[in-house]
Amino acid sequence: MAVDADVVRLRRGDLNALSELITRYQNRLYRYLLRIVRQPAEAEDLFQQTWLRVVEKIRSFDASRNFDAWLFTLARNLAIDHLRRIHPQSLDEPLANSWHSETVADRIPCKDDTPLDHALAAERRTEISEAMAGLPMMYREVLTLRFEDEMNIEEIAQVTAAPVSTVKSRLRRSLEQLRYVLEARYPGGTWQ
């Protein structure tokens, strides 16, 4: 595996490499944290903490390993510690008011052909986002890593420190639960 040049430079204390890495990972990392904690203010705080932790720990990072997985593992550990401290129930339970809450993701415009397509697609994504936000943390996490970050099962297993079989079963159950929620809310597949 080729060692990321920016990671090597950061290990030597290069400030430009730090800037490059933050720029490269900002969207993925922020999205991942937001999917886990669901509150933008908390995700922002964790985003900062994650990069400070990166600076602190970069020398102990084994350059032959996958930096993505290492970065997301740091972020995950901080997010889980945060959830345990602030909202212990949120690791297993959906937020009480998450069902109708608008997320930051819902406000992002998307590219579609006509105003009607645009409206329908936005509606579908809002429904999926809302359904996803209502799932337990472990399910939201595996969904965002697989579908939004496009990590494969082995990479997800590295990030979550879980066996591949557990990740697969978690992914299957998260999809089943998501579908169940969508179908319960929109009988007859009207959400599609």
């Binding site: 993925r28 922020y30 999205r31 579908f147 939004e148 494969n152 089943e176 579908r179």
Partner: protein, 162 residues
Amino acid sequence: MSEHDKIRDLLALAAADALTSAEEKQVAEHVRSCIACSNELGAWRPIASELHRLPTPLPSSWLVQSTLARAEAKLTEQAEHDWNRRVMIAVVAFAWLLTIASWPVFHVVTGRFGGLLEPQLSHTRFSYTWISFAAFTALGWLAGGVAAVMLAVRQRGERRPA
């Protein structure tokens, strides 16, 4: 569990592209001959497709800039800390070298250099030489320690935000 049930359990993962190539082959073969599973897979596809297309929430530029500033400050602080540690190690090593090198010098100055070479030293001469030397060394190290503490206190004061 029948073959059909086993395949049915794999359909959600098939839509998520999370199967091994052997499992994929198994599912593809089964779906060709089973309408129920084919429909089921068809029901999973739009969910997977929409999940791939969820909009990405973007961090604000303020967040990115402030993160960069904080991380850079930490990196600089760490580099400074490392440099100070290296300097401290070098200074301590130099101090020890100087201390060891000063033994013969000390004896030359006190006119007792020859005594060092003698394997059997008299008790009095030994005490006089080595107690003086130990006092001299201890005084040096004490002065160095006090200076280091004063420097650390001053540095901490400078770091504290105004």
